[in-house]
């Protein structure tokens, strides 16, 4: 079998770039020409082989993405090369001063309560949680208000959902988010704690993580309850937010945190 003889036509046929008239003739020829048929089978198998490579490449990329999610930033230092010693010393002192000033500024920007909260908090993406039949969802008015950034309306709505109502845990979870974004930290903590007590798989762990972030936003990272919850999450191998909790713990205990706080 001469693969090259049929290669171009087989490729056009497979990729759908063959003109209709030629396509009909090609299909008619397939019925009688064994070599053409074999080349087509071979070509299709070749596509499967290449697809394996495409999949392997995406798998590698995702492994790299997963690794970057937890990677820490690397700082590099620049070199100074000035000859006379006094100039070197003066330059070094200036560099130390400037670096010191920038370090305090940098630490303040990246390790303060506000910065830690902003770096970790994600507003809930309601679209992934809402069902296709949104109109039938009893929490829809709250979701709509959240999406429209009408946080006070959302908070007021979720407050009206009572414990005997359907989707109470979910309502408490979103009440927590509404209150947190409004800066109503006590209400947010209560709501997330209530959600956690409902023990619903879909929301319980997320509520725990957001409760931690509420403490951070409120500047209460020395609170005993906060510390206990943070320890529980970062040591729980099965917890969905273990990595995030470990990263938060690392930042809270870091040198930069002490400078930036």
């Amino acid at each position: 079998m001469d693969v090259e003889r049929y290669m171009e036509r087989v490729e056009q046929y497979t990729l759908g770039t063959m003109p209709p008239a030629e396509r009909a003739a090609f299909e008619a020829e397939l019925a009688t020409n064994t070599e053409l048929r074999d080349t087509l089978d071979l070509y299709r198998l070749g596509q499967e082989v290449i697809e394996q490579g495409v999949e392997a490449d995406l798998r590698r990329k995702m492994q790299a993405w997963a690794a970057t999610e937890t990677a820490a930033p690397v700082m590099t230092a620049s070199r100074i090369n000035l000859r006379p010693m006094w100039i070197r010393l003066a330059a070094a002192a200036s560099v130390v001063l400037v670096l010191g000033w920038f370090s305090v500024q940098w630490a303040g920007q990246h390790y303060s309560d506000k910065a830690l909260f902003a770096g970790q908090y994600a507003t809930p993406e309601a679209s992934t949680l809402r069902s296709a039949t949104a109109a039938e969802n009893p929490l829809e008015p709250g979701f709509k208000a959240l999406e429209d950034k009408q946080l006070q309306t959302a908070e007021n709505f979720f407050k009206t959902v009572s414990p005997d109502q359907e989707r109470y845990a979910e309502a408490q979870y979103y009440l927590g988010h509404s209150a947190l974004q409004l800066g109503h930290f006590d209400l947010a903590k209560d709501a997330f704690q209530t959600c956690i007590r409902q023990n619903e798989v879909k929301f319980s762990e997320k509520a725990q993580w957001n409760l931690l972030l509420t403490y951070v936003a409120a500047g209460e990272t020395d609170n005993t309850d906060f510390r206990q919850l943070l320890d529980a999450l970062r040591n729980d191998n099965g917890h969905s937010y273990q990595r995030e909790a470990q990263a938060l713990y690392g930042k809270l205990e870091s040198f930069w945190r002490r400078i930036g706080k």
């Binding site: 082989v49 993405w65 679209s127 879909k202």
Partner: protein, 197 residues
Amino acid sequence: MKKPDFTDEQLVAAISAGGQAREIALKAIYDDGDLKRMVAAFVRNHQGNATDGQDMFHEGMIVLDRNIREGKFRGEAPVKGYLYSICRFLWMNQLRKQAHTSSVAEVPIAQEPDHLTPEIALMTEERKGLLNRLLKELGERCQQILELWKLSYSMEEIAETLGFSSPDMARKAKYRCHVSLLEIIRNNPHVEQLLSR
């Protein structure tokens, strides 16, 4: 919050278009922390651990990517909901394979909370192994060329990415590699087994 903010239509269009657009769209989907956690929670609640959860998310992404490129995703469900269903399907299938007739097998997909049935072509490990061996015989450079070509990179992009002097040189290299691949397959003693599905 989605970042960057793509609509489902944009995600599908970008993945179908291939090239860099596909990678950006896949990364945007990958970065959805809520979705990853939902998959992880599902796996954990069905006898898996955190690593299994991540693996299933990755495998689900691979199926999603292929189904969109091959036009099997018809947009009847949101992209992320579809991906979640794929991950669940893959995990339940894996559990079934592991358990054969254990209790897991008594939980059919249809009884799961949502009713999406993603089109998933499951390949046997044996077939996958054979295809991978054929790919390795091809050599790394040819693999790269054909993979980029399959992902709809233009000959200009292939030339630039792989350092060919011109798009025409890239085109010629692609042709040679493709013919080589088909020859490798044809000369493999197991080719009949691969062709008879």
